[in-house]
Every structure is written in structure tokens, then in C-alpha cells.
């Protein structure tokens, strides 16, 4: 099967989980003998065309812009659509596959002029990301999401929680939706590292405990509740140090919140960390906290489990499906600093329990969250879409 995959983010252009998802899925589909063309946006020093383990990556230059984000998004869709049109002169695509609303206009247009089925993966929805619809842009994006779901032959979602959201908000028929979880590339965690040296790089000495957060610094990730939990955690584990990896528009607020805990010296905001360093940092942590208040899947939790780090996660959305409480991780109440502190203290105070959690978690990852499984199930969706 020949697939045209449209995504606004693809490594090295990484925003959140979509880039990692598209990379993992595309490589696995190639291993399944599909031909995969990823059409994405350009990025400094990344070639306009490259072959990444068999995945043909076409990066699009956007020749016209606008200060407004949504206008810019529609403009880059035009250039991506043009790229697909040029490619289709030499490549007879079987499927157009888009990820979230950001490439919907290009995908929908390509579907119609190429007369090929459109497959959509919904990673999250505006109503969840923005915790409601509060601005004209939010209403526009919500409308785009409805439109792309309507135009798609089949909609893939990454969790049962996301399926419920789609059915509840947009009344999408059950038979149109396929639930295919995300996966994780475990090989990047199967190497020897100098744990102490990695920890020292982030200001954590060997006798201290590294409490790690990885993710965008936006309200849906719940970082403020972790920060509010810091005094409680430090009271029980005075050797705890907090590393916050990631960036986002809430950063300034979170840094001032950190000051108000009176433990600012124990909290490091690292900003963006490249993937290779992030894998090492994850493997060196004593606990990975995922305090999301809205989380359609939670690929970070999977990565922590693959890295052999105990997970403390908010009992929301996809996280509640990935993490089995008291078996593969610890689930805590979201928006609840006391509960988060309880979970972190539970893990930090009992190394034997932590080891048991991580052993169970690694086994679960191996059995359920491989890219091979995801690619097989996605291929089945493609075949069904081509048949009907």
C-alpha cells in the first residue's frame, strides 16, 4: 500500500507526541512493506527530502505567512496540498492519512482531487486542549475538527477515552472509529548509560532523588499541581530534586509558582531537551510524574515505562488506560497536589515497590505497545477503507 501521511510536525520539528507517533508509525508501516511518503513542514538544516529508514520525508517550504496562527495554518496547508499534487504525478497513493486538524484542509482537498480514501488520526481535541471553547480561534478549530471527521472514511483514536470524547462531542458513529493505541520504541532505552553523570548534568547528586516531568508547559499537562505538591514531597523526601523538561506559554507562570513554594532551588526548568538527551534523562530518573488534567493518551507515560522508571500519573483519559494502578504505576487524582505528593512519596520511599512496578510496566509495554502491532492494525484500517 502507498500512503501519503500529512503532519505538521515530524522530527526534527517536534512539538508534542504527534511527531514521535508519525515517525514510529511510518517506520513500522515500511517494515510491513508499505511505501510511506510523509509530507511535513520544513525546519532549519533539515533537508527538503530525505529517506529515514525507508520513510520518504518531503518537507514543504511555506512561501507566504501571516502573523495570525490560524491564518498561517491555512496558508501552510495550501503549500502542503501543492506538494501532494506534485508528488501524485509520479506516485499513485492509495491512502491519504492526516493527523489532527492542522493538516485537515490539505488532506481533504487531496482526498477529493485524487479520489482516494482519507484516514484521520485524532490525537486530541480543541475542546479538551483549551478546556472549553473560549475564543473565535477555538470555535474555528472545533469546526475544522468536525469537518475533518465528516470527510474521513475512518477515524483512528489513540484511546477509549478519546473515542468517548468524539462520540460525546461530535456524535460520531461507533463504526467509524478505530481505537489504536500509541506505541513506544523501546530500543532507545536499551543501552548503557552513566546514570550518575547524566544526573549531575541536571544538578542531581547521587544521594538525591530525581523527580522528572516531561511535556509542554501548558495548563492541560497539570504541571502547576506538581509544583504545588513540592513542599509536601520535600517534607517526606528532603533529598528530592525536580527537573521540568519542556516549554510552553505557561512557563513564566510556573516559574513564579515555583518561587512561591520556597523550594525554588530544588526545581529546574530545562526547556527543550533533544530526544537523545531526553532518553538518558528519563532512564536516570527516580520517578516520572505525568500530572495531566487532560490527556487523550500520554505517550510520555509509555516512554517512562519503557525506560524502567516508575510512573505517577493523573487518573485521566488515556493515562488511566495505560497505567494500572498499583501494578504498572501509581494513579493519582488530577488537579490534586496532595494526591500527587502521596503518589511520589509512595514510590520514593519504597525502592522494592518501585522496582516491582517497573518490571510489570516493562512487560506490559512489550506485550501491548509495539509499533509493529500499531502498524498491523493501522494497515487493516487502510485496507478496509480501500475496500468500501
Amino acid at each position: 500500500m502507498i500512503i501519503c501521511m500529512l503532519t505538521w510536525e515530524f522530527p526534527p520539528r517536534i512539538v508534542g507526541g504527534i511527531a514521535r507517533h508519525c515517525l514510529g508509525l511510518a517506520k513500522a508501516l515500511v517494515r510491513e512493506n508499505s511505501e510511506v511518503h510523509v509530507v511535513t513542514l520544513d525546519f532549519p538544516e533539515a533537508p527538503l527530502y530525505e529517506d529515514v529508514e525507508g520513510v520518504k520525508v518531503h518537507r514543504t517550504k511555506v512561501e507566504l505567512g501571516h502573523p495570525s496562527f490560524t491564518t498561517w495554518a491555512f496558508l501552510f496547508n495550501h503549500f502542503m496540498e501543492k506538494k501532494v499534487a506534485v508528488l501524485s504525478q509520479d506516485v499513485d497513493f492509495d491512502i491519504i492519512h492526516i493527523h489532527d486538524w492542522l493538516t485537515a484542509p490539505a488532506g481533504i482537498a487531496s482526498k477529493h482531487y485524487l479520489n482516494k480514501p482519507l484516514i484521520l488520526t485524532v490525537h486530541s481535541m480543541e475542546i479538551g486542549r483549551a478546556q472549553g471553547l473560549h475564543s473565535p480561534d477555538s470555535y474555528l478549530i472545533d469546526g475544522m475538527e468536525w469537518w475533518m471527521i465528516y470527510e474521513a472514511k475512518k477515524v483512528i483514536v489513540v484511546s477509549d477515552s478519546m473515542r468517548w470524547e468524539l462520540q460525546n462531542h461530535f456524535h460520531v458513529p461507533q463504526e467509524k472509529i478505530a481505537v489504536i493505541p500509541n506505541a513506544v520504541d523501546v530500543t532507545k532505552y536499551q543501552r548503557e548509560i552513566d546514570r550518575e553523570s547524566v544526573r549531575r548534568r541536571y544538578g542531581v547528586e547521587s544521594h538525591e532523588k530525581l523527580v522528572l516531568f516531561i511535556g509542554r508547559l501548558v495548563p492541560q499537562k497539570g504541571v502547576e499541581y506538581l509544583i504545588w505538591a513540592v513542599p509536601n514531597i520535600v517534607q517526606h523526601s528532603p533529598e528530592a530534586k525536580f527537573v521540568i523538561s519542556g516549554d510552553g506559554w505557561s512557563r513564566n507562570y510556573l516559574e513564579s509558582l515555583a518561587v512561591s513554594t520556597r523550594h525554588r532551588d530544588k526545581i529546574r526548568f530545562e526547556g527543550f531537551i533533544p530526544d537523545s538527551d531526553l532518553a538518558e534523562l528519563t532512564m536516570s530518573a527516580d520517578v516520572l510524574v505525568v500530572p495531566s488534567v487532560y490527556e487523550p493518551f500520554g505517550i510520555v507515560a509509555l516512554e517512562g515505562m519503557a525506560a524502567g522508571v516508575p510512573i505517577v500519573a493523573g487518573n485521566v483519559g488515556g493515562l488511566a488506560e495505560i497505567v494500572e494502578h498499583d501494578r504498572t504505576g501509581v494513579l493519582v487524582y488530577s488537579r490534586n497536589p496532595e494526591s500527587i505528593a502521596w503518589g511520589v512519596n509512595r514510590v520514593l520511599s519504597d525502592p522494592g515497590y518501585s522496582r516491582w512496578l517497573t518490571q510489570n510496566a516493562k512487560k506490559k509495554i512489550k506485550e501491548n505497545y509495539s509499533w509493529e502491532t500499531v502498524a498491523k492494525r493501522t494497515s487493516q484500517v487502510y485496507e478496509e477503507a480501500c475496500r468500501r
Binding site: V15, F43, P44, P67, S68, R129, A130, R216
Partner: protein, 78 residues
Amino acid sequence: MPDEIYFLCMLHNIGATSPDKSLTLEEITRWTAMEHEKARSNIQKLIETNYVQVNSSRGVERYHVTADGIRKVLSMYS
């Protein structure tokens, strides 16, 4: 969101993301409808944080968003 980061997002969205697409201050103020001095002040802050790079050619300064700046912008969009 700090003023200069909002300004960075606009710079990114209007396409000033590589040396060959860099813009003069005047072009930037036209695109963003921002006052000259405010734009200059924002650009200076962004240069100091390595989110914007300045190129000089024939006495004319042009500005574009760096790779770090692009990552910062992308992190603003949830």
C-alpha cells in the same frame, strides 16, 4: 505570554524562519502593525535569548527566527 514571545510567534508565522527569508525591521513592523521602537526592543530581547539572529548585508540589518526560536514558537501552540 510575554510580549517578546508573542512577537516571536508572529515573526515565525510571517515566515522569517531562515537567512534567505530574513526581514528588515521596517518589513517586520509593516507585517505585525507594531510600533518601530517596540519591535526593536522585542527583537533585541529575542537576539539576547538566541531566538532571533541578525544578518547584516550592505549596511542593512535583517532578522530571522533561529531553530531554537522555532522550537520555542512550536511549544507555544498546544
